[in-house]
């Protein structure tokens, strides 16, 4: 599913050069649940962004779902993300002025679909995360755990093969965190989604298939 070779990412400004990732080689099989751990600033988000085609490596090759990514246009990358990847963020990134169901529909408005299809798919996704009764609510009326469940529904509404989660439980207490983790495991086991999750929590990481540790941009485990 994912194949990274000799990935290097360097951020350069006039005065500073930050090596965010150094010689990363990683491959993730289809259906695998991988967690990434490491101290703050070690390059976890950078790695996830590269896998999610939101950022380009300075060096190395990225292969996702059998496609190479060199010289792809903005349009091609956007379409690929839309079809194949679902993102979940630590701070949810819901749009406050849209209702829960409209938030969940967001990825679908960037592909060909009818209003009816969008409604149905979004309702099904909310059902899956246990929020079928909150469709007309607005994000401000939800708890943190519920917001993250909306974000998960949004990530899976387009049926992507790959889910990328950047500290999805980082802003939640352990009860809510576990609920989120259950949902992700469920998606991995029942729907055979490939999941890559960045986390700070050893307990969460233990529940996944495999753990990769980063330190200072390098893979240490």
């Amino acid at each position: 599913m994912i194949n990274l070779q000799n990935i290097e990412k360097v951020y350069r400004t006039k005065t500073i050069e930050t090596v965010a990732l150094n010689n990363i080689n990683l491959s993730v099989e289809k259906g695998e649940f991988l967690s990434i751990m490491g101290p703050s600033g070690c390059g976890k988000s950078t790695l996830l962004n590269i896998i999610g085609l939101l950022d380009e490596p300075s060096e190395g090759q990225v292969q996702i779902a059998g496609s190479d990514f060199k010289k792809h246009s903005d349009k091609q990358l956007a379409a690929f993300r839309n079809q194949n990847i679902g993102f979940i963020f630590q701070s949810f990134h819901l749009i406050n002025d849209l209702s829960v169901i409209d938030n969940v529909e967001l990825p679908l408005i960037y592909r060909k679909s009818t209003a009816k299809q969008r409604r149905e798919l979004a309702a099904a996704a909310l059902e899956k995360v246990g929020l079928a009764n909150r469709m007309k609510h607005f994000p401000s009326q939800l708890s943190g755990g519920q917001k993250q469940r909306v974000a998960i529904a949004r990530a899976i509404v387009g049926r992507p093969a790959l889910i990328l989660a950047d500290e999805p439980t980082g802003n939640l207490d352990s009860v809510m965190g576990n609920e989120i983790m259950d949902i992700l495991l469920n998606l991995n086991q029942q729907d055979n989604a490939t999941v890559v999750m960045v986390t700070h929590d050893e307990n969460m990481a233990k529940r996944t298939n495999r753990l990769v540790r980063l330190f200072d941009g390098m893979q240490v485990q």
Partner: protein, 388 residues
């Protein structure tokens, strides 16, 4: 996409209420200014109905003279003026001085129909001096003189209001009048005496009294020089002893009359321009702030599959939707003007003014939304997400 855009902006309308109100007021002001300018323009493109470029006005001034004291010299004076090679025609007029005549109105009755009309007095030469084309009948002359009836020339607008499709020539007006009732002898097209922006109105001409001579209109050859003006003035003074002669050119009077519209138009447009410029600056500021606050959303949308184009479209679209809300509100008020017929302008003018104002507002709003939105679209998605 469009649906979600509307939903998003509808849900957040309270946050944008200030902007909506600003655009709403800009629209109303623009609508007012446009109604004025379009109505003036609609007048401007109509034919004037006469040609006054080489016509001079001769005024007689003498505070001590009794009215009519010039009548003895009238014949002599007109003959003398006509002998000048530089002069084509001369006419005596009471009040029919284009670009500033006096305003007299009278009601005209034809059976049940009663219509108000402005009227002017001229003589047989008036038509020649001002080159007024007749569409029916003829101008009054010796043959139209009739002891029983006062011959009148009416304009097309008055003709339609009085007679509709009936023939106009030979019709008698105001039969119960004490003096002579009027008889229509000719029809002219327009006579927009007040200037290029003067609206069409009902007008009729009647013959000036035989002895009266208060103003002359002199049509001169296009080639005449300024020296001739002195010569003419001297000649007339020689005949009209004790009178002060003043000669004025119709072209100058026309300019003065037109400036009465040009100057307020420019002032209105300037004020309106400043107002809208302010709104645009405000809009610009709001957009920048908005985009900086919504970097996380930009990153998220990119992650979900939005292209750069769609991000730019999102922000431009949002502003367009806000403008649409303001314009819907504005149109609701603007359409009251034609519905209630407030200023007596034609409905078509209000409708054009609404359409032009809508286009101008969308255009300006689109232009000023474009740059910030384009910048927003260029924010790298990883950086947009990192910012939060």
């Amino acid at each position: 996409m469009i649906r979600q855009l509307f939903k998003l902006m509808w849900n957040s309308k309270r946050n944008h209420s200030l902007l909506i109100i600003e655009i709403f007021f800009s629209f109303l002001v623009l609508f007012g200014v446009m109604s004025f300018i379009i109505s003036q323009y609609a007048n401007y493109v109509e034919p004037m109905g006469f040609e006054g470029d080489n016509v001079w006005v001769v005024w007689f001034e003498n505070a001590n003279a009794e009215g009519g004291s010039l009548s003895k010299q009238k014949e002599n004076m007109l003959n003398r003026i006509e002998t000048f090679e530089e002069v084509d025609y001369v006419t005596v007029s009471e009040n029919a001085i284009p670009f500033g005549g006096t305003r007299n109105s009278q009601s005209l009755k034809k059976g049940e129909v009663e219509v108000w009309s402005r009227y002017f007095f001229g003589d047989a030469n008036y038509e020649e001096v001002l080159e007024i084309p007749l569409t029916e009948g003829k101008w009054f002359d010796k043959n139209t003189d009739d002891l029983k009836y006062e011959p009148v020339i009416i304009n097309q607008r008055l003709r339609e209001e009085l007679f509709g499709n009936e023939t106009a020539i030979g019709q008698i007006l105001n039969p119960e009048d004490q003096g002579r009732p009027k008889k229509v002898v000719g029809v002219i097209g327009n006579f927009r005496w007040g200037g290029d922006f003067h609206k069409q109105e009902n007008i009729y001409f009647a013959p000036v009294g035989k002895d009266r001579i208060s103003t002359l209109l002199v049509k001169v050859k296009p080639t005449v020089t300024a020296e001739f003006e002195g010569q003419l003035s001297k000649t007339i003074s020689g005949i009209a002893k004790g009178y002060q002669i003043e000669i004025e050119r119709l072209v100058d009077k026309r300019k003065t009359a037109n400036n009465l519209i040009y100057i307020p138009s420019i002032i209105l447009l300037t004020v309106c321009g400043f107002l809208i410029f302010n709104v645009i600056l405000g809009l610009f500021g709001i957009l920048w702030a908005n985009i900086n606050k919504r970097k996380g959303e930009i990153g998220t949308r990119r992650a979900m599959g939005a292209t750069q184009m769609l991000i730019a479209g999102q922000f431009v679209g949002e502003v367009m939707v806000i403008a649409t809300f303001a314009l819907i509100l504005g149109c609701f008020f603007a359409v009251q003007f034609p519905l209630m017929n407030v200023f007596g302008l034609a409905n078509a003018i209000y409708i054009k003014a609404i359409l032009v104002s809508i286009l101008v507002i969308y255009f300006l709003v689109g232009i000023c939304a474009f740059y910030p939105s384009w910048q927003a679209s260029k924010i790298h998605p990883a950086i947009a997400l990192h910012a939060d």
